[in-house]
């Protein structure tokens, strides 16, 4: 019986989406069959069908269900920027500098240092130039900064920034409310930044906010997220961080969103930025890892509440993510105990309790 006939047989037996198994010929299947079953009468079709079906399932497993988790995950630490930006207590420059220095010593390779946005909008980060100039710049660590426009970009470069980030949104209403312009207008602004960045060989990271839901529009279509992400990637962003800004995502819709985006952008250029507002952060990160994403944004101590849900939490905490990855045997290069020291330092300065469960469980004064 030829393989083609076999396919027909399998289809007739209800195996839809039959994956053509190129690796084994019928003869080999029969050979294996008799070897495994020995004296058991191998009834031609039924056992071979079973064998091929198992092989098919195996193939499907590899294709669909649990692709191997990445061996290494890059953590992008956003505590000093995204975290502090959303904390009520304004911390002095030297505290920010010390925090970033402590974080640099944990083994983190990317620490978002500050944001060159107008102090009128984000008073916490009014000291952006001083912070950028004051931090100790470890050679193996990048210190990207946010630059909402060309003006911010120039100020950032002058202050010594070597990498910048730009923020898009998948929701029109959010874009207007947050940055006072439409998605299209924001893209035009970013084009200016990217052009200048290219001239100066400055890498640019892109963020897409509201990748799952928007506080104003509700659910966001995965296709829209893919469109905005693709635009930013094509413009020249080396990496796009997909943000569940309101934290409403669950593994189901995070998966759907990622499925749409990975059609347009290589997985290696994607990151997830999950908020823990509804406790779904780690589960969402895990599903992203299962889909091949290997860059995760998080915030030491889970700094940064949610501006859209009073009293709610925001960023996932770096310690909890590192704990999970470590348990999975995934390397991050991060020393968890040093991370918890940084956590303790900043929480004391902010006069608040840590949001990290790991820190709560481990810390012994």
């Amino acid at each position: 019986m030829r393989l083609a006939n076999f396919s027909d047989t399998l289809m007739q037996c209800g195996l839809r989406n039959f994956v053509h198994v190129t690796c084994c010929s019928l003869e080999r299947v029969s050979g294996i069959t008799s070897k495994v079953h020995g004296d058991v009468a191998c009834h031609g079709t039924s056992f071979e069908l079973w064998l091929l079906q198992v092989t098919y399932i195996n193939h499907e497993v590899k294709k669909n269900v649990t692709p191997a988790l990445p061996e290494f995950v890059k953590i992008v630490e956003v505590g000093p920027r995204d975290g502090l930006q959303n904390e009520k207590v304004i911390v002095p420059t030297e505290v920010k500098i010390k925090l970033i220095n402590l974080l640099s010593e944990t083994g983190l390779s990317v620490i978002e240092a500050t944001s060159f946005v107008s102090p009128k909008w984000v008073p916490q980060l009014a000291d952006h130039t001083e912070v950028m100039q004051g931090i100790k710049k470890y050679p193996q660590v990048c210190y990207p900064v946010l630059t909402p426009n060309l003006h911010g970009f120039h100020a950032a470069i002058k202050a010594g920034a070597k990498e910048v980030a730009i923020f898009g949104a998948a929701s029109e209403t959010f874009s207007k409310a947050n940055t006072n312009c439409s998605i299209e207008e924001s893209m035009l602004r970013f084009e200016e930044v990217i052009r200048s960045a290219k001239d100066g060989n400055i890498p640019v990271r892109g963020y897409v906010s509201c990748a799952i839901g928007c506080p104003y529009e509700g659910n966001i279509a995965p296709a829209k997220v893919a469109e905005v992400a693709k635009r930013m990637y094509s413009m020249g962003c080396y990496e796009i961080s997909l943000g569940d800004t309101t934290g409403i995502g669950t593994p189901g819709n995070v998966k759907k969103m990622l499925e749409a985006v990975v059609k347009e952008i290589p997985k290696s250029a994607l990151a997830v930025h999950c908020h823990d507002t509804y406790g779904q952060g780690l589960a969402n990160v895990f599903v992203a890892l299962q889909m091949g994403i290997s860059v995760v944004d998080c915030s030491v101590a889970g700094l940064g509440g949610c501006p859209y849900a009073n009293g709610a939490s925001g960023n996932i905490s770096t310690e909890d993510v590192v704990y999970m990855l470590s348990g999975l045997g995934i390397r991050t290069g991060i020393d968890l105990s040093k991370l918890m020291e940084a956590d303790h330092f900043i929480c004391k300065a902010l006069n608040r309790k840590t949001n990290s469960k790991v820190a709560q469980a481990c810390y012994k004064p």
Binding site: L49, W50, V54, T250, Y278, G279, A312, D320, K357, V358
Partner: protein, 337 residues
Amino acid sequence: MNEHRSTITKQECSLPVGEHFSSHGHSASDLQTNVAVVHSLPQEVKIVEVGARDGLQNEKVIVPADVKIKLINLLSEAGLSVVEATSFVSPKWVPQMADQKEVMQGIRKYPNVSYPVLTPNLKGFETALQAGAKEVAIFGAASEMFSKRNINCSIDESLRRFEEVMKAAKDLSIPVRGYVSCVLGCPYEGNVSPVKVAEATKKLYSMGCYEISLGDTIGVGTPGSMQEMLTAVIKEVPVSALAVHCHDTYGQALVNILTALQMGICTVDSSVAGLGGCPYAEGASGNVATEDVVYMMNGLGIHTGVDLQKLLEAGAYICKALKRRTSSKVAQASCKL
């Protein structure tokens, strides 16, 4: 061509195969694991609400019987099908549960809801039945040291005590649920071998427990260790008879639950408002919050039968009585679901 058509299903593919054979170079046990993982997420998950027992048991503030009764009634109205009501353990050990009889007799027993109670021994079992219990639960451990420290006897001794309970329960057709503690780690022994967990689980199942809840007592588990443990247990006990009881001490509960669901588990224990801290790590959290679990299930399109809004109300009620903030992130964020 042979006219015989096979109707082999995916389930049948977990037939034991003695030798390595796959052209992809996987061993049979790998295949079995892969086949276990291939189950898509369950369409329905049963939530076992343990707030009124496991939750309250680990709360410092003692709440009066009428508060417990009201909590359980609110939980029943939230659509939960299993609400663990109390524990018939000596009040000397667990003062919070001293009002066990009053609670059992005082709650409104909804027809579609079970109210299992803990019964550590025959005496507790008899008292429970006298108080109107129709289902009981027994607690084993996968760690010898934990067993000795927690219930003052070895694992084997505890199983012998349970056999008495099982026998009495069988005679009266009372279903018994089994718990295995320390499945992913022990506060005294550290790592716990999956084989040991599988062994303890199998014993409870063979004794007659209809369901075994696997507890990550100190919350140290991660998806990796959860998967490893479940792989060992599923070889011994049908996945449909298993539940997971994940603690959120290190923030890993929901992701561990997700991993369990991906492996075919469809019963999850949780505690309203995430009641119940961890007695092994001061200031740390304990049980995973039912609201957060239900939120995830809803997002995944998995049916639980639970009305999240009513659940939030039950959580708000008990937190007020306990004068504490909810541990549920959904509750903290909520108000506009």
